[in-house]
């Protein structure tokens, strides 16, 4: 069986496993107060050229979104997101559970539009009933988006400017950050750190067993952050596991190498699909490929390939997701090409 259903199907990159194994019997204090965490944070700060960045390691994506949003917002605030955003749809109401509304604006292939964002803010503050409405207290974007698309540098700049103008923090969900940066030549993680007020570097989908690194870039860490993390059930006892993993991810450029591996294989598959006349549901340059397939064809395909169901296209067709990752190997890609 070829496995292309998602980018978190395997354990971790061998180098991460090696680091975990090597440090396994070292005794450390808990809750992230260990040296591995300090070392990993130093490497990240260095990598993003942001010496004052304040960094926290959490376990998973929904948890990270919940903690960042809830700790940065006040009671009266909601978070603005694309209607298709992960926080708006696929997090089981984790944001609302923490008391905050997700204020949705249209998603355009997963992205919000800076002009529409601005219009929403203008309308909100001009509304006589603004006091009776949730205050827009943060803007959430994902990079890459849930559809694998990317904001251009100009688009990021525009969204960031509006956030600055309205004094609203911009939060960038980088669950698949490596796959975005590897697909976009003119944007670096340093740029991300500059545009966003807070972002996270996804480890779960990029070669770690688990782990997301929250980065506060503007001296804007919420108070009592460790207490807030614990209150959300998100403070890992053996925090050093996150330090060890992120240390490995940011050694010898492993994080970006894994990103490039996924993108190269995704591009190969994409070209092959196009050559064969498949219809791509949505064009995007990252590690997720959305293809429209005949239902009859899928019956055969599922015997050999694990893919992701995305949505029904019409009576006779379905949109499926083919995802590459840090773990994808050339042989699997070639095998997939033969089957398609």
């Amino acid at each position: 069986m070829l496995y292309f259903s998602c980018d978190y199907a395997e354990g971790c990159h061998p180098k991460v496993l090696e680091a975990l194994s090597k440090t396994n019997m070292v005794s450390t204090p808990g809750y992230g107060e260990d040296e591995f965490c300090q070392q990993a944070k130093a490497k990240i700060r260095d990598y993003i050229n942001c010496p004052d960045a304040d960094i926290y390691f959490l376990v998973g994506g929904t948890q990270t979104n919940q903690v960042v949003i809830d700790s940065m917002l006040s009671n009266y605030d909601g978070v603005v997101a694309a209607a298709t955003g992960h926080v708006a749809v696929h997090e089981a109401g984790a944001i609302e559970y923490s008391g905050h509304k997700v204020i949705t604006i249209p998603g355009h292939e997963g992205k919000i539009d800076a002009t529409e964002l601005k219009q929403m803010l203008v309308d909100h503050y001009a509304d006589d009933s603004a006091e009776h409405m949730v205050n827009p207290g943060m803007v959430y974007i994902s990079y890459p988006t849930e559809y694998g698309t990317l904001y251009s540098r100009d688009e990021l700049e525009a969204v960031s400017s509006i956030c600055k103008e309205y004094n609203i923090p911009l939060f960038l969900d980088g669950a698949r950050l490596a796959y975005g940066l590897a697909a976009q030549d003119d944007l670096s993680m340093e740029d991300i750190a500059s545009y966003a007020d807070v972002f996270y570097i996804g480890g779960t989908k990029v070669g770690a067993l688990f782990g997301e690194a929250i980065v506060f870039t503007k001296g804007n860490t919420p108070k009592h952050m460790i207490t807030q993390i614990k209150q959300h059930g998100a403070l890992l006892a053996k925090g050093r596991l996150l330090g060890v993993q992120f240390d490995a991810l940011f050694t010898d450029d492993l994080y970006m190498q894994m990103g490039k591996n996924a993108i190269a294989h995704a591009n190969t598959i994409r070209e092959d699909l196009k050559k064969k006349g498949y219809h791509l549901y949505m064009e995007n340059p990252t590690n997720q490929i959305f293809v429209v397939m005949e239902n009859s064809k899928l019956e055969d395909l599922k015997k050999e390939v694990a893919y992701g169901f995305w949505e029904k296209y019409d009576e006779a067709h379905t949109v499926i997701r083919i995802a590459t990752s840090w773990a994808t190997e050339k042989a699997s890609v070639e095998a997939l090409k033969k089957i398609l």
Copy 2:
């Protein structure tokens, strides 16, 4: 100054005030355990022909929506509402504050469409990711809607059927219930009680100082309801004030008479506006009239008439709201007609 800006601008109907005055120095137990509350409940049960209805009196609308929704839903549930619904827009995030997502579907002049509701439910339960999404645990509609429109009997029947089919309670927000029923000949409060699993009879906007009567119609009261009401800060110490008022509202058909007063005056104004060629922003048969006015005209109007700002129409025009109520008098209506 003529006052047409909203339907809660005055205190209460003289008969309600009389009842409050007459009973003012009577000593009673608190928290709704008094005889006035019992008597008012009995009258409501009788009026809706639902002897087993379980009734709770609360103070205001947002509070009532929050308490009903939060007490009936489980953690994993959200409430389905029109994107324009009061709970989705104008309650300062009171629903999300209580931990629940408002799952929006399109509003059609304020109403949800039964077919679209069904499709949403079908799609939800067919979705492979349903477990990662908020469960649709209640359907919320307002009658009249925020735009003054009304569901026809067939439309209510259709929405109600789908709720039954999916075993999801239907909650009807009747903040302006009297104004809806007075405008719709073929539907009674008994019908409302039959279609809805829970609804509330609005007092604040219909002649009470304050007060909303929640009616559970199907033996479906949440457990420990008094505790839940108190937990939301919504248990009035002198609960008898609500009993006294609702007793008065349901004596000698006062509630419906007040509804008819508002509708008769609204119809007069509406006809006058049409005759004079004004453009109604939205047709509706109840006590709120939405008119498109030239901005220049408004400058003069606001000197003599208190109206509600609704929204900008275009550069030169604005949508305003003219609301009648139980308190509207013929003389004011005639005066308004002269000004318009």
Copy 3:
């Protein structure tokens, strides 16, 4: 039947009713944006000699405690209170429902001890695990307490000083404020305003139909306060009802006169009880009297007097509460004395 069970058994003081009646048909904007509210606030500011006090009118006590505590605390904060405090015991978990722990310290006849408060804070901040614990973010006291006792000026001063030292706001619950001030010659509402960072002036138990006035005394109003109030379901549509009532309460010293009425009658009853050899469960100078009664005696008493059950004393005795109020009349007191 003589009614001495609580201080919220009747409607409102005749002067309050008169004010409500007189203004009943005046049209005003909603949500407290009316002139009556402005006027009442001005009178309160003047009365407490605190021209910058920021004032909000809410409906009831639990609601007020929830809104004040939740709007002033951050996620990571809890509120410190006596183990017997109303917020710790009798509010159905309204504080926890809003996400905050009530951190209890011992109650001494309802009061917290400044030295114990300080020790708790010292211990907390010295604790290696402080980050894993809820942060003490506010101190809550009630005046009078739930047991009718009063903090002396020195005691208030001491608690207030410690709060200042630790930069923690002091919140004083004045649900029965008039009864406290009327019983304590050397303390004024101006003093309360000076010691507390936020307090509320209780109306529900002192002559209003309902209503509590939150007073922020130090330029410390939480942001977006109206939105926060609405989010808790606590924004009264006809806010003017609160303005009208508090305006009446603060006209011609009515508020304090009502307090004095209750205290004078309570003192009469207390002296009578002592003369007759009854055992007072707890000495206090305010409007609540806690008496130990033989169970056999109670059987007769309850036929003529409505009193409050407080708690079981031993197999043969019960502690009951006799409460006077603004509404207590001399004739009732004399009748009660004959029965006791």
Copy 4:
């Protein structure tokens, strides 16, 4: 440096690491829908002889306590716990954050007393104000307790009986379950499963990198449990990591072997301490030893031994915690004995 400060200072048992390494590149579905999880659950069900047990794997202890308590309780419920219980003190308010009060009763060396529990319930339901108070909806105990003490079989039986009598679920926090069972000959995990309505088997402190296994033993799993777990940010993407680890823990009796290792070493240290005349702050039979030490002695000790600070004893003495674990080796114990 000898490490005795806690039982989560190292990574995982070599056999667990081996299992993780061996399965690292296997592709599986996410969120616990993999075969490793199924296999681990089967082994646990078998081990506790409870074929219908429903099992969920979570990452950490605070998270597990929050998810179990919040998913089993209704809004109006609180959880009863010892005043010293972990959920009452050291979880940063995670329970209150989820809306529930921790109702404390006295802790006796960490344990609640069945008679006191019963009295609290009797008093609660007899209280006229019960509707105004949080309902006791669950009883929480930890085994071992935070002080390393254990409930005897009779004590567990007594607490369990009262819970059954009042129809309140009993939740047993087994963060250190192996260390409890290894120290108590007459009680098995099967017994725990029988007494408790829900409990968790701690992995984080017993040889796993992380992981706690929630076991619902009475067909009492809350509805939509996966959605609830995700809503709390507690659904691990690569759920298989938990399956793989618990599979290893329940293979060849590894879990209990690790428990026995810790207990044997703790007993050796305890005997040595007693022989040398140290004063044990609290007697207990499990892996945590609480010793009263002279402060002057500690200055030297801390150069060679990492121990846990527990609390100040008096001006000249401190209570420290020495913890053994699955990872403790004989050589370290001998070295420690030489230093003490």
